[in-house]
């Protein structure tokens, strides 16, 4: 194969997937762009955005891959229900890790900004926001990933190629939308 042939093949293969994920990313941006008031009210929140988005991808991308491997290996039955011990273990672990890492990010972000002498919201505010965001976005993403992967598999689709795009397109959007929702809730409950 010549350089030109390799490049043309790679370009054609990647373009549709990237277009879909770019659209998802733009809508996540639209929500973030509308969060100006919340970002001003909670100094340190913007610092947490990349960590929160990456954690969604890392945790729930891995959950999708794990369930996909389980289905391929026959460890999880295609007629699976939530009572399946392995599926439940994988889901609980993903939720636990998602919440733990989100809260750890809030604590580290608070420490970092305090150390640098930059303005930062109270630790309790940041922890409450990341805890609720981790839990709520986790429940939504688990539902999306399990539904798409299991139902896709039953219809003869390869779960390995389904899980990635589902998490990249929904993960950012769900992550930012739940961040907006929980920040408003925490500000309303705590009066800022």
């Amino acid at each position: 194969m010549t350089v030109r042939e390799v490049a043309a093949g790679a370009y054609r293969e990647a373009l549709p997937v990237l277009l879909v994920s770019a659209s998802g990313g733009l809508f996540a941006g639209l929500v973030l762009g509308g969060m100006e008031a919340e970002l001003r009210a909670v100094p340190g929140l913007l610092l947490l955005v990349p960590a929160i988005l990456a954690t969604r991808g890392n945790v729930y991308g891995s959950l999708g891959a794990r369930i996909g491997s389980g289905l391929h290996q026959g460890l999880i039955d295609a007629a699976v229900t939530i009572r399946d011990e392995r599926l439940r273990g994988a889901i609980v672990a993903a939720l636990l890790n998602g919440v733990l890492v989100s809260v750890a990010a809030a604590i580290m972000a608070f420490g970092l900004l305090a150390l640098l002498g930059r303005p930062v919201a109270p630790l309790s505010t940041l922890v409450a926001i990341t805890f609720l965001t981790g839990l709520l976005s986790g429940l939504l993403l688990t539902t999306a990933v399990v539904t798409v992967v299991v139902f896709g598999y039953r219809r003869g689709l390869n779960p390995d190629t389904l899980a990635g795009p589902v998490v990249t397109t929904t993960g950012d959007l769900v992550g930012v939308a739940t961040l907006l929702l929980t920040t408003r809730l925490v500000l309303w409950l705590g009066g800022g």
């Binding site: 194969m1 010549t2 350089v3 030109r4 042939e5 390799v6 490049a7 043309a8 093949g9 790679a10 370009y11 990647a14 373009l15 990237l18 994920s21 770019a22 998802g24 990313g25 733009l26 996540a28 941006g29 639209l30 973030l32 762009g33 509308g34 969060m35 100006e36 970002l39 913007l46 610092l47 955005v49 990349p50 960590a51 988005l53 990456a54 954690t55 991808g57 890392n58 945790v59 794990r66 290996q73 460890l75 011990e85 392995r86 273990g89 609980v92 672990a93 993903a94 636990l96 890790n97 733990l100 890492v101 750890a104 990010a105 580290m108 970092l112 900004l113 930059r118 990249t168 950012d172």
Partner: protein, 190 residues
């Protein structure tokens, strides 16, 4: 039953022990890009159009890097790859990454401007936003190629399976580079 299939391997404790340390390391890396955003906060809040560009730039950078990494890993496993700048697979995939960035980032810039225009005052000219997006995209594509090739070569030298190590490293490093490059483009153009 294989150790991989035993129920204990799927227990909450086992999965957490395998995942949590890596997740915490990746979070520290991501907080690095958060610090860059924090330093840029005033500009981003003054121009919501630029705020719209943040998640999509981060996402596209990680995606360009991870697709390139997956393709190079496969070429490497098939024995098709040699680490020579004139190698067909290396040069072809690198070229495709830059071409994808040149195609997609102006669209992303225009999309961000259009969304901002629909909901509020975009505050910046369409051409400015497209230029910020294109500049960031081309710089990111070149950096993604360099990071991916160096990481894949490192995995090969240390006899590690590129599938295990290259994709997480490249995706998260490209996330950080996405924010840093966007910061540079905003400072230079806006």
């Amino acid at each position: 039953m294989s150790p991989d299939g035993s129920t204990s391997h799927w227990s909450v404790g086992a999965i957490t022990r395998a995942m949590l340390p890596l997740l915490l390391v990746l979070t520290v890396i991501e907080l690095g890009s958060g610090l860059v955003l924090d330093a840029l906060q005033e500009t981003l809040l003054a121009y919501p159009t630029l705020l719209i560009l943040v998640p999509v730039t981060i996402g596209m950078a990680g995606n360009l890097g991870s697709i390139l990494a997956a393709r190079l890993s496969t070429a490497f496993h098939l024995g098709l790859l040699s680490f020579d700048p004139t190698d067909d697979h290396l040069a072809g995939n690198g070229l495709a990454t830059v071409a994808l960035a040149v195609t997609l980032f102006p669209l992303v810039g225009a999309g961000a401007w259009l969304l901002a225009w629909l909901v509020a005052d975009p505050a910046l000219a369409l051409a400015t936003v497209v230029l910020v997006a294109l500049t960031s995209g081309v710089a990111l594509a070149v950096l993604a190629v360099l990071v991916t090739v160096v990481t894949t070569y490192g995995a090969y030298r240390f006899e590690l399976d590129p599938d295990d190590v290259v994709i997480p490293i490249v995706t998260n490093v490209c996330d950080v580079l996405g924010v840093v490059v966007l910061f540079g483009a905003v400072r230079a153009i806006v």
